[in-house]
């Protein structure tokens, strides 16, 4: 039994096709994050699920009920917006209870639900303030509360944290995670912040131009991206790509360098074609320890970017830029020559033609 | 020389009369630049005055003679015409002489009176009365008596435009006709508020109130539209000054045949000697000044007076000319004038401010039927008490 199921969804704005035959199944209690570049259709998809946009074709089922033509308020969903969208002239309590009053929920019931939500979100002291008198984080909590009081099964979040500063974002992220652990309802969460996606999601759907590129657990997406787009999109600093080919079976060759792909897990076995060899900067090992890796080479540090906890070293392999993340305490300086090594098993290799993982 | 002349004579008859001035002036080799301002004196005067004050005066301008230009003269903004007046012997030819007095400040003459207009007329439509099957009345009482018949025939007994000066003017006419000249003088010249509140005046207000009832259904703005109602026979009559004459003339109607005019409402045959005068704002350009004087002389000259007044329907300001071509009504006026049954015009005795206040009161009374004659009288007396 699925919580939300989207079948062959099409959405056009006039002649612009924003979503194209999109299918998606979300389980009960799952935390799904929609991740993708700006304009790829994340908000559009969310609005379709909420019923705020009329789909062009396809169906949407929530709790196994076809809700394609239902009103948003009848779909059993709650939604939290990027701009909070609180009703500015009402107190926090008014904001929380407005929808319930409108649905003619009895008064005591409203009171108790608001009280419960306020408790969960720890906004009891704020109930009689107006939104203007709240901080960003508090507003965000009220916005969540508004979804909470409606006792819905599915929560939709559209970049709920992107208006907040970094520190608050990190705190609220953890709160949302806690909330999910407490409530166990389905959450669909749109963001373009990778850290949010990685830390919150049970599964991540990476979207590009209205299509889902990969739908998988964060670890899988990080470790085994299905195509170059996903590989490049996920991870910061982003993955290094070396341009070369695999004409020699089981070996990657770029310029004069050859990397043995002995223990690389091919999807369908090795192919003999030009490929991208992708490797994450943080999986590279430097210094003496590098020698023990299946592959190692000597390089020159071109730029060293100390970032406190880590240091990013820009170097190059066969004249192709290659970044390496090393410990913040490492003592590599610009111009230094040093040894780097890695295990090709942790690489991601993509066919140069269709950019799919091989 | 180009001379711009402002005036507010824009209706058919008026424009024809002005054209006589222009023709005569252009014939002297000068050029009459017409500056007509529509909408009556109320609209035109502010424009005229602000231009004089603004230091960009016209060459000559119409103003009702009387007190309207007093301050402008006192401020030295007007051309002194004493020299040509003496030369032309105006004092001898202008009749009645009161007209020239109105142009005189400190013994100097500042304006040229061009005509005499009198308010004290009622104009009756033969067609309307014929339609109603009654005889054309010969005085105010008969007129009121025949009102019912007119109403029954679907006519408006008394045509009256909505502008305040019309109702106020009609009041003056009824005042003199019903209350007599003495009462009028007491109030308007001597500013006797007691008389204004007195029982004689109450009669006048009663009559005025009755006239108000007769005008129900008269929904026009301008006086000449009201006149037009008389011309077409829609209305029985109209209380209006002798300038209405021009409209009948333009419409090709003949006095005594198509319409009848009754001076002093047929009750008290007297006419007021108000009228129009031309002032000549001071100017630096000697050529212009010369042209101004030329025009001044021209305006009071015999042929121009005749031509102008025939078109305008007003009486000439000089008694020494032959007006035998004038029609019936005008002849009546000339006779009364010759007999000396004259009185000054309201503008000559009341300040613009007081006239304005009276106009406001009268037009309000005329349109607000809930205001009783007694109330109107009380307000009237208050204005007279304050008048200067």
């Amino acid at each position: 039994m699925t919580s939300v199921s989207i079948k062959n969804l099409d959405l056009n704005f006039g002649s612009v096709k924003v979503l194209k035959q999109l299918n998606l199944e979300i389980d009960h209690g799952e935390f799904l994050v929609l991740l993708g570049a700006s304009g790829c259709g994340k908000s559009t998809l969310l609005n379709c699920i909420a019923g705020l946009l009329e789909v062009s074709d396809g169906q949407i089922h929530i709790n196994d009920k076809n809700v394609t033509w239902e009103e948003p308020s009848d779909r059993g969903i709650g939604m939290v917006f990027q701009s909070y969208a609180l009703y500015p002239q009402m107190t926090v309590k008014g904001n929380l209870s407005f929808g319930l009053k409108n649905a003619r929920v009895p008064k005591d019931e409203i009171e108790s639900r608001v009280a419960r939500a306020a408790e969960i979100l720890q906004i009891e002291p704020l109930l009689h303030r107006k939104p203007a008198a709240l901080s960003g984080g508090q507003r965000q909590r009220v916005a969540i509360g508004r979804a909470l009081v409606r006792d819905v099964d599915v929560f939709l979040f559209d970049e709920p944290l992107s208006n907040l500063d970094a520190k608050l974002r990190a705190d609220l992220r953890v709160e949302i995670k806690r909330l999910h652990q407490k409530l166990h309802n389905t959450m669909i969460y749109v963001t373009h912040d990778q850290v949010e996606a990685m830390t919150l999601a049970d599964r991540i759907a990476i979207m590009k131009e209205g299509l889902i590129q990969q739908l998988d657990s964060p670890a899988e997406i990080y470790n085994r991206p299905v195509n170059k787009y996903v590989a490049d999109f996920i991870g910061s600093p982003s993955m290094n790509f070396l341009d070369g080919d695999m004409s020699t079976k089981g070996k990657f060759k770029t310029g004069g360098t050859e990397i043995d792909l002995g223990n690389y897990e091919f999807v369908d076995g090795p192919i003999g074609a030009p490929v991208w060899f992708g490797f994450r900067p943080e999986h590279v090992i430097v210094g003496e320890a590098a020698t023990s890796q299946p592959f190692s080479t000597k390089v020159v540090a071109e730029i060293v970017e100390p970032m406190g906890s880590d240091t990013l070293v820009w170097t190059s392999i066969e004249n192709q830029p290659f970044r390496v993340r090393v410990d913040g305490q490492a003592s590599i300086k610009t111009g230094d020559e040093f040894l780097l090594g890695f295990d090709p098993a942790r690489a991601s290799i993509f066919d140069k033609e269709n950019e799919l993982r091989v | 020389t180009d001379l711009e002349v402002t005036h507010w004579w824009t209706s058919g008859g008026e424009a024809a009369a002005v054209a006589e001035f222009a023709k005569a002036f252009n014939a002297t080799g000068n050029n009459w630049v017409d500056g007509a301002i529509a909408g009556g004196g109320g609209v035109a005067r502010p424009v005229i005055i602000s231009r004089i004050l603004g230091g960009d005066p016209m060459g000559a301008t119409q103003l009702n003679h009387g007190r309207q230009a007093e301050e402008l003269v006192e401020a030295g903004l007007m051309l002194d015409l004493t020299d040509i007046a003496t030369e032309g012997g105006w004092r001898d030819i202008v009749n009645p002489t009161g007209l020239l007095d109105s142009c005189t400040v400190d013994g100097k003459i500042y304006c040229v009176p061009v005509n005499i207009h009198s308010w004290q007329w009622i104009w009756l439509s033969h067609k309307a009365f014929a339609d109603a099957g009654v005889d054309v009345p010969s005085n105010w009482d008969e007129f009121t008596a025949s009102a019912d018949a007119l109403v029954a025939a679907g006519k408006t007994p008394l045509a009256m435009g909505q502008q305040s000066w019309q109702s106020s003017g009609a009041f003056g006419v009824i005042n003199v006709a019903i209350g007599g000249l003495d009462l009028w003088t007491k109030i308007n010249v001597n500013k006797d508020a007691e008389a204004a509140a007195g029982p004689e005046m109450a009669k006048v207000f009663e009559a005025y109130g009755a006239a108000r009832v007769l005008s129900e259904g008269s929904n026009v703005q301008d006086w000449n539209q009201a006149t037009n109602m008389v011309i077409t026979g829609e209305a029985g009559g109209q209380i209006m000054g002798d300038w209405a004459q021009g409209e009948f003339q333009v419409a090709g109607q003949t006095a005594g045949v198509d319409y009848t005019c009754l001076p002093g409402l047929g009750v008290n045959e007297i006419i007021s000697t108000g009228g129009d005068a031309f002032y000549f704002p001071k100017n630096d350009d000697p050529e212009v000044t010369a042209a101004q004087k030329e025009l001044a002389k021209l305006m009071i000259s015999k042929p121009v007076q005749v031509a102008f007044n025939l078109k305008k329907g007003s009486l000439p300001v000089r008694g020494d000319i032959d007006m035998s071509t004038a029609n019936d009504c005008m002849q009546k006026g000339l006779e009364i004038l010759a007999a000396g049954n004259i009185m000054p015009d309201g503008n000559q005795v009341l300040s613009a401010d007081t006239s304005g206040q009276i106009e406001d009161l009268m037009v309000e009374f005329w349109n607000d039927t809930s205001m009783t004659p007694a109330e109107a009288q009380a307000a009237y007396a208050a204005i007279i008490a304050e008048a200067d």
Partner: protein, 298 residues
């Protein structure tokens, strides 16, 4: 330490100051100077020409003892309040209608806005014509068989102000509507989404959420209407010229007539000073709300 001297304050931004001279001159000479001049002369008994012979509050006493002025004030109040109420409601309702993602929005908006391009003179004339009982609406309805039908607002002292109101609204609501529409468009779309998810019908959203949010827009509209109302002159002149009787007189016309027709400048100045005061009564609270309330916000 080389201490360069601080340049004279007056000459900093000299160009800007020179460029602002017209504004400074206008503000000081016209708006302050002229107003003060007028106020001072309102205490004199100037007739045709301004003279400085003071008579204290005599002009004001006469002003408030004059029926025509009282009628003018009454008319202005009535016209003002009605046109405020109707402009705001009609403007807002029309804006809401146009906000419904309708087809031909541009056409409808243009139709509603175009009268704003016409002068009050034109507006007054055309409505005078339409409301003319002999040819206009009354005539039409009578010719349909209702021969007793009466609709002659311009000739009935009791309702003439409605006749003017109809014309005034016709001319001005379009502009208010455009402002309202801009205000509606300025509202965060997510508010609408939130209320749809809460299941709130749109009329309720308009009343409980949108209108309170549009407070600044309403205030702007209010001030614009109010400023226009105090100045209303051309419309009355063109449509009724104050008639019938004095039934549709307005203060601006009183001022004008007093100054030029009655040649009683002092009286006109006193009346205009009262008008100015009434404007200030409207403006100062607005200025306070608009600027005083949230200082440094902009």
């Amino acid at each position: 330490m080389a201490q360069s001297t601080r340049p004279n304050r007056l000459f900093r931004n000299l160009n800007a100051k020179i460029a602002a001279l017209p504004m400074i001159a206008t503000a000081l000479v016209v708006f302050i100077g002229f107003t003060v001049w007028t106020i001072v002369h309102s205490f004199t008994k100037s007739k045709l020409l301004p003279k400085l012979d003071f008579v204290g509050f005599a002009q004001y006493e006469r002003l408030w003892g004059t029926r025509r002025w009282l009628v003018s004030i009454e008319n202005l109040a009535f016209y003002g309040i009605s046109s405020l109420v109707f402009s705001l409601t009609i403007g807002f309702l029309l804006a809401c209608l146009l906000d419904q993602k309708i087809r031909f929005e541009n056409t409808f908006r243009t139709i509603i806005l175009y009268p704003f391009a016409l002068s009050f003179i034109v507006t007054g004339l055309v409505w005078q014509w339409i409301l003319n009982p002999e040819f206009g609406v009354q005539n039409i309805v009578r010719s349909l068989g209702f021969s007793e039908f009466v609709f002659d607002p311009l000739y009935n002292a009791d309702v003439v102000i409605f006749g003017i109101l109809i014309a005034g609204l016709w001319q001005g609501t379009g502009f208010i509507m455009v402002i309202m529409l801009a205000g509606l468009r300025g509202i965060d779309q997510e508010i609408w989404k939130a209320s749809r998810i809460d299941g709130i019908p749109s009329w309720k959203t308009y009343i409980f959420v949108v209108i309170p949010m549009m407070r600044p827009v309403f205030i702007t509209a209010l001030v614009l209407i109010a400023a226009g109302i105090v100045k209303v002159y051309d419309l009355v002149v063109a449509q009724t010229n104050g008639g019938p009787g004095n039934a549709s007189e307005v203060p601006a016309k009183y001022v004008y007539d007093m100054m030029f027709k009655n040649q009683n400048l002092g009286q006109g100045f006193a009346a205009s000073t009262v008008m100015l005061l009434s404007v200030l009564v409207i403006l100062i609270p607005w200025a306070y709300l608009e600027f005083g309330g949230r200082k440094g916000d902009k």
